[in-house]
Structures are given as C-alpha cells and as structure tokens.
Symmetry: D2
C-alpha cells in the first residue's frame, strides 16, 4: 500500500478567477498546488489537473474519465476537487473501487477571494483522505458526508444530509 495522495482537480468555483479582459469570472489553472506549497504541506502528494470546468458543464464522459483516473492511480488515497453543484453526482459514480479512500471537496467561494472556504476545505479534505477507511466521501462545511445521502442546499449555501 502506497501512502501517496493523488490529487485530481476538475475545476469548479474553487479555481475561478476574474478576467478583466472579459469582465467575467472563469475557471482558471488550479490554485491547489500553490496552496499546498504555501502551507508547507509535507505529505507525499501529486497534483494533476484532470478537467477545468464548471461542474454544471461536466458530461457523463467527464465522469467516466474521473473514475478511470481514480482506478488507474497507484495511490490508495485520492482527493478530488470539484464544483459543488454536481459534486454528489460524481461521488456516486465512484463507488466500488476496492481499497481506495476517495474524498471530494470544493469551495462555495473561489480561492482567489479574500474570504474563501477553499483553503480550509482543502486542509479538511487532505486529513480526511488520510484518516478515513476505504470508500467515497464528500468533505464540505467541516463535515464528512456519505454521497448516498448528501446534497447541496443551494439556498442555504451549505451541504446537508
């Protein structure tokens, strides 16, 4: 068993940045690698940008690709950053991969903002993926959810079960 943590980024709010040239906000290069370095994270990990999409735009094909990446990884600890709107949907398609702990997280406010939950959530998910037994989990709002019962309460701005 490897202690390596494979971190796959797929886009979502967490990676949104503001482009003046377009006067709009778009999914940019992932903020996760910089964040781990700035926080002096010393666990064995690797960051791979799988996708760069708002989660409302993810297709069935995209989800197959995410699952394939998780299956193909030699790591037993897999952290996936994902848009919050369809995070639970993706989590439900990741079941049944033997021996692997898979944790999905994201942010309700972009990491580029002064007041963002991105850094806290990535920290939270990074411990969850190391400490939890094999299975698939959604880690949001300081809680660890079972994808079978979790959902985003959009009006409340939080995940509930």
């Amino acid at each position: 068993m490897s202690d390596l943590i494979d971190i796959f980024t797929t886009g979502g709010t967490i990676d949104k940045v503001y482009f003046d040239a377009l006067s709009e906000y778009q999914v940019g290069p992932t903020a996760v690698a910089d964040m781990l370095r700035q926080n002096n994270v010393q666990c064995d990990h690797r960051v791979t940008q799988l996708l760069r999409k708002d989660s409302l735009d993810l297709t069935g094909e995209d989800r197959v690709a995410i699952r394939q990446a998780a299956e193909d990884s030699e790591a037993n600890h897999i952290l996936i950053t994902h848009g919050t709107d369809t995070m639970v949907e993706t989590a439900r398609m990741l079941g049944g991969i033997d021996g692997k702990t898979i944790v999905l997280t994201g942010a309700l406010q972009p990491a580029s903002l002064k007041h963002s939950d991105a850094e806290f959530n990535i920290g939270f998910a990074l411990a969850a993926v190391q400490a939890l037994p094999p299975g698939v989990y959604v880690a949001m709002n300081g809680r660890i959810f079972d994808p079978a019962t979790a959902r985003k309460d959009r009006a409340g701005g939080k995940f509930v079960d």
Copy 2:
C-alpha cells in the same frame, strides 16, 4: 457517544496579533471561532479559550489544566490549538484518556497574516479529529504525527518524525 467536537485554544503563534501601541506582536483572543464561522463549518462544535500563552511559557500546571479539560469534556473528539514549540511535549502528557480522539494543531505563521498556515491547519485538524480512532495526534504540515516520534524542526520550519 457524542459527536460534539470540543475545541480548546491555548494560545501560540496562531493567535498572535500586532499591537501598534506596543510595537510588538502578542497572543490575542483566539481567531479560531471567527475562522470556523467564516468557513461556514456545520459540524457540532464548541470553542473554549483555555489559555492565551506562547507555548514556551506554558508551565506544568498549564498542562495539567489542559489534560483536565480534555478528561472533563463530555465530547469524544477534542481539538487543541497550541504553540508549535512545545506542542509535542503537551501531546505526550495527554495519553491514556479512554475513548477520546485528541488532535493538536497550530500554525507557524499567525492567522492574522496574509500568508498563514492557520486556516489550512485548522481545517486539516478538524477532519483528523473526526476521522481518526481514539488516541493523541499532532496534525501539522498536512501530516498526522504520533507524538511519541514527532518533533518540530525549527530550522526547517516544519514538523518531522
């Protein structure tokens, strides 16, 4: 068994703020409660400021008080924020409390700074304290340490084992 998480703050770098009137940096009121609220943390928790000291100034009596608070708590999940210089020493005095998961964390840069590891570390420790089996742990630098072998590498600015 309660799912409540008792968070005890003891001071340390994480809570240091700059006082212009003194032209110096001192341990202030804990930043942890605000941080949890700003990150919209929804797990059942309670924050208590036990002490407000640089960890180099903690006495044997202070450590007895920290242990007492952990023993007296009705919670089975206890998160302690602590200065990094003697975090391991305190952790070693918390062994043998049946059925409780106790996690210590802190920061190398104050939470009041633009570039601080405080938010990431609190997020990390909050998942660790929920997911780990009973025992005492030091959660720093994105890793979960056994206090028996952990130490702060001051020159390297990180915890190692």
Copy 3:
C-alpha cells in the same frame, strides 16, 4: 470652501462579488465605505452609492445623474468610483463644473479578491482629490490622467495616454 469629500460610487469591477447561488460575479453593495473605515481614514468624507452597474451598462441618463450629483454637492472635492471600461467617457462629461476637483477611479480586479488594486487605487484617488486644483481627472495605475487624452488599454490591463 468646504473640505468635505463627497464619494459617489457607481458600481464597476471594484464592487463585484461572487454569488454562489448564481455561479457568477455581480456588482454588489459598495466596498468603499468598509475600506475607508478599515484603513482608519480620518478626512471628512461621505459615501453615497449612486448606481450599481457594470460601466458597459451605463446609459446617457446615468451619466446625466452622475453629473447632477457632482453639481448639486456642496463639496468641492468629489471622488467617483466607476467601472474602468467607460470611465474616461464619463469623465469627459463632467467638465466645466467651477471650483470642483473631481477624480474618477476604479479597479481592474474586484476589491473582494486577495490580489486587487482596489485599496491602492482608492487611497491614491483620495489624495489626488484633496491635492489637485479644480478640474476632472482619472486616477489609475498610480498615475493622474487628463480625461481628454486618457484611454484604457484593455489588452495591456492598464490606462495610458
């Protein structure tokens, strides 16, 4: 002559915030009043939100209202926050108001972002409006521009003349 500074906010990038419920960025309540308080600004000033629009959406009527507010103000120092795309256009419609120093500023990155030019630019414009002789000025990128010759270099992400 009054030393009061009248600050009129009209919207623009400087006041854009991210709305998770819409997965988009919109002009919100002005950030300027909070910013002045947090920076402990002691000059006599008053903040009024005139409009709350992206500057590409400003109409001729809006510009008439901005001019009217400047004329009606009893203050001789008027600071206007404005979207950058049509800031120069608005500035050119503010000429010929006797005895008043009018300074327009804004930001290329929202004040809500970690890396924003908003705070710097507001500070810059606040000194410009106190120190410059009567007239209309665009204050951006650490420079004071004459609206007659200024323009936004969108590709370069800065104002030039």
Copy 4:
C-alpha cells in the same frame, strides 16, 4: 524638472514580518516594491531601501542620511516610508530643500497582515507626492499633514493636528 518619483524606505511597522524561528516580529525587506508591481503602478519610480529599522531606533545620523538622500536625488518627487513613532520628527528635519515635494508615510499595521493600512497609505502618498506643491508633508489616515503641527496620537491609533 523630472517626473521620476524616488521612493526611499527606512523600515518601520509597514515592513514588519513574523519570524517563526525567533517567535517574533522584525523589520524585513521592504514590501513596497512588490506592492507597486502587484497594483500595476505605471508612474516612473524607483525604490531604494535606505534603512531597515524600527523608527524608535533611528539615530540623528540616520536622519542626516535620509536628508542627504533626498538632497542628492535628481527627482523632484520623493516618497519616504517610515515608522510612525518618529515620522514627524524626521519630517521636520527635511525642510528647506528647494523645489522638491517630499511625502512621508507608513502604516500602523504591517503590510504582511490581512488587515493592514499599508497598501492604502502607499497609494495615498503616491498621489500626494505627485499632486502637492514643493514642501514636506506627512500623509497618514487619508489626510495630508503639515509636519509643524502633526503628531501621532498613539492611544487613538491615528495622526492628528
């Protein structure tokens, strides 16, 4: 007459950073150059670190060196960052340099903090030094002070006259 702005940094709170290895806060390399670049400042300027001291530690000799630098500069616009405790004292020793506008500024909270007045104050001073007639000024709290009457109200955390 040159439009160059010579920026001399002398230390003070604005440049204080936290050193974990010492568990204390010290004056570090100046934050001003990075700040100007991040805010995309386009005016012609040059940043020179003259000193790196808490202003309570400045000697008469240090002040002679600051004055000499201002006299020797070919620029007619000189911005000096300085600790707040003795900023007025230094300003009073800079009088009588013909044809030059000299502005002193600083911060009550280090630029390294999340909530700092550094960025705002540097922006403010940068406009003041371009727009004011020759003379010596203290630019703090969004106000432009005459050094003859200005003083720091330490308890109030602001400059007054």
